[in-house]
Amino acid sequence: MRTSREQDKIVCQMGRREKDLFLELLSLYPRTPPAPRALSKNSVLPDAEASQRMLDEALAEQRVQNRQLLQQLMLDLARFQVRPTGMKLVLSEADTEWLLQVLNDIRVGSWVILGSPEDPHALDELTEETVPSVWAMEMSGYFQMHLLKALTGD
């Protein structure tokens, strides 16, 4: 993927094969299991139950909203320009920020599916079962780094 800045937009260009991989990757969203994530590790918080419920609801709502936003992105011909040779994505900074979150959901979710290994690069062996998650984890990382680079200008 090649990224560049055009005024206030971030432009991502991909070849045909890369575009296919990108779309396949996005089709995996949401990837993190909907299991609740704890608000606190060691403390008893005031109204803990209600606070935890609020967090769970906020995260669930985010998943629904992100799924809708992904569909909208793919239908938006101004931002999502598919060509015979590949694809051009024209994103605002806010779009890019949001896409980073989506890709990180796929990365973290794939890692969780792999059993949350302490060293994700040292899995004992690749099997038919683990390959899709290893692929999704690595590919989402690849796209994330490109988007981060475009955002921060590093």
Partner: protein, 104 residues
């Protein structure tokens, strides 16, 4: 589209009446926002998230990211219950392992 997900730096103002209803301890900055290390989030990503959520300059965000990486956790903020909750929500939306703990 994504304009709606631009992170807020601070939670919306709480109405005065609602604040008065809360125990005083909840309004005091007695809650720590902590980010815990995990082996999956990239260091650059974590730095970027800290900048977005807290509005920090890059150097400060990198300092806390390295603390998470090297010491297993970093205390990112000491806030009231409500603000701490807000920050944890934001960090968890980015899939960072963040929690809030009482500052005891």
């Amino acid at each position: 589209m994504a304009e709606t997900v631009t992170p807020d730096l601070l939670p919306a103002a709480v109405p005065v009446q609602e604040q008065q209803d809360k125990p005083e301890s909840d309004l005091e900055p007695g809650f720590l926002v902590i980010c815990w290390n995990d082996p999956v989030n990239f260091m650059d990503y974590v730095t970027h998230v800290f900048q977005m959520v807290f509005g920090w300059p890059r150097k400060k965000a990198e300092f806390h990211m390295l603390q998470v990486h090297e010491q297993g956790k970093s205390v990112l903020a000491r806030e009231s219950l409500e603000k701490a909750e807000h920050y944890v929500h934001q960090l968890q939306k980015y899939h960072l392992h963040a929690t809030m703990e009482r500052d005891e």
